[in-house]
């Protein structure tokens, strides 16, 4: 196991949509080479907070983010930061698999292409191959890289999306309920994959399944009504939570 270091540090983050105060003073630290899970009932702000980490909330006009989010010590909301560059370093995988209606190869090669990461065709081929390997889908698609990505099964599509995200060589991988549209077998494959990805990336995953959080994460944050109620080692959160709300949620009494 690689040594863990501080990757992202969020301090006093507040998010407003028009009049809604969606995130209330959340502070969190995300370590490299580990999986951090955000859990909580629907509408608690966990996805919103996740989307702050790669500034995807910028695409929503009414959304306002205050507070500091530092990636490797640099403020990602600094006016000098180009969100486009940031998103190449902080990859994202969505709830519903969303491959481009293009070939598998083009899906994975898109990021490296627009960021100019490959020197030539063979270089790009290698990047695509590596990304597909790391996403544990290479063996399934190596013979049909030119087939459309949309023709695969849901679980395969999601792994293509993960491959696509890691092809730009990000440091952090954000996953917004990546398994909620998948069947149990595909979910198990993705979970196994997330555990492997931990070796190279800081993974942040939003999940509705507490079992999933318990299985794959090292750190867990529990969100409720826009506040981060509790944040700590997964083991501790699930066995000995400090806050009564956390306990209620994980034992199924609220949420």
């Amino acid at each position: 196991m690689h040594s863990q270091s501080l990757k992202i540090s969020a301090r006093h983050v507040n998010v407003h949509y028009d009049k809604t105060h969606a995130i209330k003073d959340v502070s969190a630290e995300i370590l490299s080479n580990s999986v951090t899970a955000f859990i909580g009932p629907s509408g608690c702000g966990k996805s919103t907070f996740l989307r702050c980490l790669n500034r995807m909330n910028d695409t929503i006009d009414s959304c306002q983010v205050t507070g500091d989010i530092l990636l490797d010590g640099e403020d990602i909301y600094d006016p000098k930061v180009d969100p486009v560059q940031l998103r190449a370093k902080v990859g994202m995988v969505f709830q519903k698999p969303n491959p481009f209606p293009k070939s598998i190869y083009d899906n994975v090669a898109y990021g490296p292409r627009i960021h100019g990461l490959a020197q030539g065709k063979s270089d790009l081929d290698e990047i695509v191959k590596q990304a597909l390997r790391r996403a544990a889908i290479w063996d399934e698609v190596k013979d049909r890289l030119s087939a459309p990505g949309t023709g695969l099964s849901g679980g395969q599509q999601q792994r293509i999306c993960i491959a696509r995200a890691i092809a730009t060589a990000p440091a952090v991988l954000l996953m917004d309920e990546p398994c909620s549209a998948l069947d149990p077998i595909a979910t198990a494959q993705i979970e196994e994959l997330i555990d492997e990805l931990r070796q190279n990336y800081a993974v942040v995953i939003v999940t509705h399944s507490m079992h999933q959080a318990a299985r794959i994460s090292q750190k867990t944050a529990f969100f409720h009504m826009g506040t981060m109620v509790e944040f700590g080692d997964t083991e501790k959160i699930f066995t000995n939570p400090t806050d009564p709300r956390t306990e209620s949620y994980i034992t199924g009494r609220i949420g």
């Binding site: 790669n54 998103r87 994202m92 969505f94 519903k96 969303n98 627009i114 949309t150 999306c161 730009t168």
Partner: protein, 442 residues
Amino acid sequence: MTDLKTDKSLYATTAHSKRRSAAEKRFHRLGLAAILIGLCMLGILMTTIVTKGSGAFQQSFATLDIDLLEAKLDKTGNRDPEDLKKVTTFGYAPLIKAAVEQVVETHRIETGLKSKDMAAIISKSAAAQMRYRVLDDPSLIGTTAEFKFLTNSWIDGYLKGRVTRETIGNNKNVSVEQLDFVDRLVGLGIVEKSFNMQFIFGADASDQRPEDAGIGVAMVGSLAMMCVVLLLALPIGVAASVYLEEFAPKNRLTDIIAVNIANLAAVPSIVFGILGLAIFINTLHFPQSAPLVGGLVLTLMTLPTIIISTRAALEAVPPSIRSAALALGASKMQTTFHHVLPLAAPGILTGTILGLAQALGETAPLLLIGMIGYVATNMPETVTQGLLSPNSAMPAQIYEWAKRADPAFYERAWGGIIILLIFLITMNIIAVTLRRRFERRW
């Protein structure tokens, strides 16, 4: 659970269920009737158009051998093009008369007609047709050449059944003797009906020569206008929609703009015509009746259609595709041009083709910029001419023909409608095919 109220046999019917199924059946039948009425109307329309218009694609021709006498056509004998041009169509007319007399003599046709009236069955365009051919090829002078002349529209009408011995009465344009004479010529194979290329590719003709009129020049005018519309409306429309849909902030102002674009689509087309007259002709002094101006006016008219369909196509692209690209670090423009636009392209194309088809059939705005009433007799020779010199357009030409008194023009109006419809149907088929072929399966 025998105490439940609904404990009845599945086979039992109640007054309520009977009423309900009767209502279903009634609605079913009404819908079917509506469809049948629609189909009937379409059938009637199509049959009428085809029966009335198909005549225009056939035309009666008289094939005559003409002695191109040097004494008449080139008195100096040196084939100087300038001298040849001095001989007007009046110089050629006697040759036709002579050729007809020749036919009467060889075949011993009994007729009480004077030779002038016999020659009158040939179209007035015949002399000009000969003159052009001789000017093109002066070596024909002094020889006997075969010419295929159009017949007069009354004779043509007689052979098509439009004009009968009973209906001509004391019509000054045609007499019963002439019809007898034509019958003999038909028997001899000198006059016969054949396919009329002239109608499709030819130019419009003056009131006196309906047999010579064609829709070709107006077609070129329409095509020139369509090029202008395509080159202007597509880029402007797509740029406007992409901006509104992908880049503009969603606020009251953009809402107002969107609503007003939708309103523009419902503005009567003649309003665009008068706008074009005021701006392009009166203020900017563009040439009147020019396809360029027509194209600009139709562009104004088509833009809202294209913008609306393009916005719909962009809206139909799932937001997940945009998120995917943005999350990979694509800029907004890269997202739009690499992913959103290609996915919306079939919808945009379909909308554009339908907009073009609508513009192609539009008549009212052309009225105000002088494209209706212009007799399009000259085929433009260059692209600039095609855009700037006065021309007509297909629907304008049809309207013009329908307006003229001679029933022969009426037939041509119907024929023109067939050609216009063929264009429109082709465009619609292309649009439907594109939509089918590229329809996205997310």
